[in-house]
């Protein structure tokens, strides 16, 4: 093998083009890592806090809370089934209404939908992480609402003390700001279930019922009871299962987009690496000839030049990953097609994202360095020394 110092020094000699190549790879790696961190961020924020022993009961054909509907009569029936955790002789659980309101987005053209959840005191029992960070809890039965910390200030009217209109002369006043461990609820507006029900004309029922099971293992039995009654037309999902499905579409979209864009971007970086390595080989024909004459094999030459390309792209990859890491506190607001509403989430650094993007930079080095390295390995020592 050729001593690695030889290749490292060769890179240093051509440092301007080497730096340019490294930067190109860094950009591509950063883009891919950021895209994967976006996808991971969606997953994380949607599914964080999901509890195994919380069941969500919704209409059989519904994929989300928004399109689900459970009749008032069915709510009582569901909550009277065996298998639910009890408190003071009553089941822990209740109906929630989920609607969307179209609000003007601040700092962008147009509006987007924001999830509004009508909740009861039971809902709070099912979300142990939820706590008020500013203001007060909305008083039950009033036109007061609290807003998640993520969505706060991103839409017109969504600031403490401000108001949004939901029905004539009865605006909802934002009296509190809450956080919920970074979950999707932080992108929602919460108001009393009775208030939301009245404002949105949903007198006949709720969107979903959430209930705590006596034990996480009891979900199958509970499901069997609810789903066997075809007239109810309801289905039961555990909270983690339900939440995982809510992030699937958007995170898949971001992952696929990330790969497609990075693939095209990487063509540029690969070509950059090839140009650099091609020149490196062309300039060192005599050196390579000498090395061959000294007894280094074609294979050693091939590996040497491949290593040289890899050193550059992996350095670029590392810089790109650091750049992506620097983005990790960035918050993004995006519409989640599964809920038809905005989700605010932070880019989440994940091992998977970093390994994938890191490997991608190795791949760029191998692809960009391969042809020049093959060319180097084919240089005939005699011809090279004669030149």
């Amino acid at each position: 093998m050729i001593p690695y110092q030889y290749n490292l020094r060769s890179i240093w000699v051509r440092r301007v083009t080497a730096i340019i190549t490294v930067l190109g790879v860094a950009l591509v790696t950063a883009v891919l890592a950021a895209a994967l961190m976006l996808a991971a961020g969606v997953k994380k924020s949607v599914s964080v806090g999901g509890q195994d022993d919380v069941a969500i009961i919704m209409r059989a054909g519904a994929t989300g809370e928004l399109e689900s509907g459970v009749d008032e009569s069915a709510v009582g029936l569901v909550l009277s089934q065996p298998g639910l955790a009890q408190e003071n002789g009553k089941p822990i659980g209740g109906g929630e209404i989920v609607v969307v309101v179209a609000l003007d987005k601040l700092g962008a053209i147009g509006f987007s939908n924001v999830n509004m959840r009508g909740y009861s005191d039971q809902s709070l029992k099912l979300r142990p992480n939820l706590k008020l960070v500013e203001g007060a809890l909305p008083k039950p039965g009033t036109d007061e609402a609290m807003v998640g910390r993520g969505i706060l200030g991103r839409f017109k009217g969504l600031t403490l003390g401000d108001q949004i209109s939901v029905r004539k002369n009865r605006p909802l006043r934002i009296v509190g700001v809450f956080e919920d461990g970074g979950s999707g609820a932080e992108s929602e507006i919460w108001a009393d279930v009775v208030t939301v029900r009245a404002a949105f004309g949903r007198q006949s029922g709720v969107s979903v019922v959430r209930a705590r099971l006596a034990s996480a293992g009891g979900i199958e039995a509970f499901r069997a009871v609810i789903e066997s009654d075809k007239r109810l037309g309801l289905k039961v999902k555990s909270e983690p299962d339900f939440l995982a499905a809510q992030s699937e579409g958007l995170s898949k979209f971001l992952t696929i987009m990330g790969f497609i864009v990075s693939l095209f971007f990487s063509l540029g970086a690969i070509i950059g690496a090839t140009i650099t390595m091609h020149a490196a080989v062309a300039h060192r024909t005599r050196e390579i000839g000498t090395l061959r004459a000294l007894g280094f094999s074609r294979y050693a030459i091939l590996m040497g030049f491949l290593m040289e390309a890899l050193v550059m792209t992996v350095t670029g990859g590392a810089i790109g990953l650091l750049a992506a890491l620097a983005l990790s506190s960035t918050k993004i607001s995006m519409m989640n097609p599964a809920t038809w509403s905005e989700l605010v989430f932070a880019l989440a650094p994940s091992t998977q994202a970093f390994v994938t993007a890191g490997l991608f930079s190795v791949g760029m080095g191998l692809l960009g360095g391969f042809l020049p390295a093959v060319r180097a390995s084919r240089i005939s020592p005699l011809a090279a020394l004669r030149s």
Binding site: V16, L27, G61, A102, G110, N113, V166, G272, A279, H283
Partner: protein
């Protein structure tokens, strides 16, 4: 030989590098054009909307509907002079239908009032006999020809859909439709991927509290120039009612949806700048390498009297020419891949998201201009280096 001639000759001196650089620039511009087109297509779709078509929806949210009598009130709206403001009006509901046979394929299902629908959406064309059948068949549906081709539906087929929004029909029966017609359109304002069926059939089947409610009202104003006045009049009409409305002309309505995709568009926009940065790196790499190889030549040229300014412009010409050499195949590739292939694919398969996906002339111009400017900038550092070249030192290096 003149200077531009020399610059051209210089470009060809390393054919492999030239080929790689040209390929790199072309691919980068292809990516740039794709991203820009995706960003612009939303704006572009707006150009197909009609100025005299108005959409009236619930003021607060899409999930709530309006009383059906609102549709009559909008239709009969009169101006201060007592003359009608609306010349045609219809009402529609989002049904949210899903075909169990195509569970993962999204398509829009809309209940439309069959008696008025085509007066508002006159771009929709249905053969006369099929239209007659639609009017005579209560559970009849007319389906976009592209959607029908996608699912292999034909006139006469029976299709059963599920609606998570409305559940089963009130009488417990499924939502069974008969496809009585296929529609095409004469404008991109309306997609060819929607499943339209009769509003009265929907109204029969929904639960009591959902009866006689309409999702939104679409109308044509008497005068496109008076859109703002008419929409204001519609909203004012319901100002004192329990449910207030938001009426907008079709373009403004469409623009509103930008908010839902604004972050995706912003990301694509950033990405289009990053690809330009990568393009710049490719060009800077190629030109600085060429100049480095020819340092001694430039030293010789200086020695025989060429001025620094001349040499610098020689290098800038070369780097700009390389960029242009890549920009031309880049534009051709973009036309073939983005405008023709991808455009056709998206407009047929994803018309709900990209009703129009065609490269604008301006995007090509932007791409060529960006490549030229970046090519020029890529040459600046090498040009300065050569301009400051110390003749004696570099000639000695040659020897």
């Amino acid at each position: 030989m003149n200077l531009p001639g020399l610059a051209v000759r210089n470009i060809y001196r390393n054919p492999v590098r030239l080929a790689l650089t040209v390929a790199g620039v072309a691919v980068a511009l292809l990516t740039f054009v794709t991203l820009r087109t995706a960003v612009m297509s939303w704006d572009e779709a707006k150009n197909y909307t009609l100025k005299d078509r108005l959409v009236t929806r619930h003021k607060v949210t899409f999930v709530m509907d309006l009383p059906k009598n609102y549709a009559d009130d909008v239709r009969d709206l009169k101006g201060a002079d007592g003359k009608p403001l609306i010349r045609a009006s219809t009402f529609l509901n989002w049904f949210g239908g899903k075909d169990p046979a195509h569970e993962n394929d999204f398509f829009a299902t809309i209940a439309a009032d069959h008696t008025t629908f085509l007066t508002v959406y006159d771009e929709i064309k249905i053969p006369d006999d099929q239209l007659k059948a639609f009017n005579e068949t209560r559970n009849g549906a007319v389906v976009g020809d592209l959607l029908a081709a996608k699912f292999n539906w034909k006139v006469g087929d029976n299709v059963t859909l599920e609606s998570p929004i409305f559940g089963a029909r009130e009488n417990g029966e499924p939502w069974a439709f008969k496809i009585v017609g296929l529609y095409s359109t004469t404008s991109k304002a309306v997609d060819r991927l929607t499943f339209y069926f009769r509003w009265d059939y929907m109204n029969d089947g929904v639960r009591a509290e959902a009866k006689d409610r309409v999702g939104w009202i679409a109308s044509r104003s008497v005068d496109a120039a008076r859109a703002a006045e008419v929409t204001a009049a519609i909203d004012k009409r319901f100002d004192d009612a329990d449910t207030q409305t938001l009426a907008q002309d079709e373009a403004t309505f469409f623009q509103g949806f930008m908010g839902m995709v604004s972050s995706v568009l912003a990301i694509m926009s950033y990405l289009s700048y990053i690809i330009l940065a990568i393009l710049g790196l490719i060009l800077a790499n190629a030109i600085s390498m060429s100049v480095r190889e020819r340092t001694n030549e430039y030293a010789s040229m200086k020695a025989i009297g060429f001025r620094a300014k001349t040499l610098a412009s020689l290098i800038l010409t070369e780097s700009t020419l390389i960029a242009l050499a890549g920009a031309i195949p880049g534009v051709i590739l973009s036309y073939l891949i983005v405008d023709v292939a991808l455009g056709d694919f998206l407009e047929y398969n994803l018309a709900n998201f990209f009703p129009v996906f065609r490269v604008k002339f301006w995007t090509y111009a932007e791409a060529v201009a960006a490549a030229t400017v970046i090519g020029l900038f890529a040459g600046i550092v090498p040009a300065l280096t050569v301009a400051r070249l110390n003749v004696v030192e570099n000639l000695r290096r040659v020897a």
